[in-house]
Symmetry: C2
Subunit: 190 residues, 2 copies
Amino acid sequence: MRYSKTHKEETRRKLLDSSRALVKKGGFDTTGVEALMSAIGMTPGAFYSHFPSKQALLEAVIQEELEHSIGMFRPGPQNDLETFRKRLKVYLSASHVRHPEAGCVLPALGAELGRGAPQVRGMVEEGLNRMHANWKEALGDEDAAWAALSQCVGALVLARSVKSEAARTRILEANRAHIERLLDAARKPA
Amino acid sequence: MRYSKTHKEETRRKLLDSSRALVKKGGFDTTGVEALMSAIGMTPGAFYSHFPSKQALLEAVIQEELEHSIGMFRPGPQNDLETFRKRLKVYLSASHVRHPEAGCVLPALGAELGRGAPQVRGMVEEGLNRMHANWKEALGDEDAAWAALSQCVGALVLARSVKSEAARTRILEANRAHIERLLDAARKPA
DNA sequence: GTCTATATCTAGATAGAC
DNA sequence: GTCTATCTAGATATAGAC
């Protein structure tokens, strides 16, 4: 055979990894199949050997992105509040704002998810519920967990929407400072 | 003359009002000039009598949307915490989630703003700063104002991204409950 | 499995008639 | 100022050669 038997799945892996970054950086609707394929050095025609449609790729991308995001905050051996605090600081960092291609899918695709097919929104719902369970475990409060999730996603959206570096920094630092209070309240509850 | 002298500005008004809703509902890149024009009963060619490009329309849309959003939370004669609380409940309502076309531009365009031209991001930055000033006045805390803004925008993004009505309600109610605590803390500060 | 080439559609934008 | 018609470019997707 002209191609090894693992060649196809390797190509699919490369395509998926590359597309996850490109889609988060440029948006799903606005990133074409040609761009996705040329990013891995191939031509658009080959795309359809791996996915039946562009929509099918989106579903695979969302699935892997959510799994990855859940993993980032999954309780580990030392899932104490301090670990959680460190992860939050990474989430609310200037680096995360500057590099959507390497970051969380929720602020990166944002409104596009809300306009997505029911299948996509179902996947997001399940992923969010699992994230919430982890955050609740760390914060010890159901409402605070949803609020912190919302705050983090919103902070990234806003920080990316402003023009100046100064404004970006202000938004991020204010959010970090405020969430510190939330963590303090969780550590020593009234 | 075949058209009254106010005809052009009336058409422009109709186009802008209609486009503001359509763009928030369907996204900017994904809503075509043909759709924008046919929504006001006209053909795509006439678009360029009013705006030199689609990008120019976006800038006008963002400008008016931000003005409107600022106005929604502007301190009025009775801008006490109770008034602010009522406005927050409207923002975090199921109706707002269901009707992006009539709601806030920030969660509706979300990531599209972050990918926008510097000119657009400059407008967003100025608008956000004015919103923040109002929220800070109501909450009495600079960091809390940025956090609440972020939380509200993020909550709308997340609530719109899930599939079931139950999940939508859960996210909204948790955010409302949590922000109530913020308001209580602002009313009687430690 | 991937390529080249192309079919088909829709986008943003322009030209010229009325 | 608006319409019809069209240009050009880009999109998703398919056909057939290698």
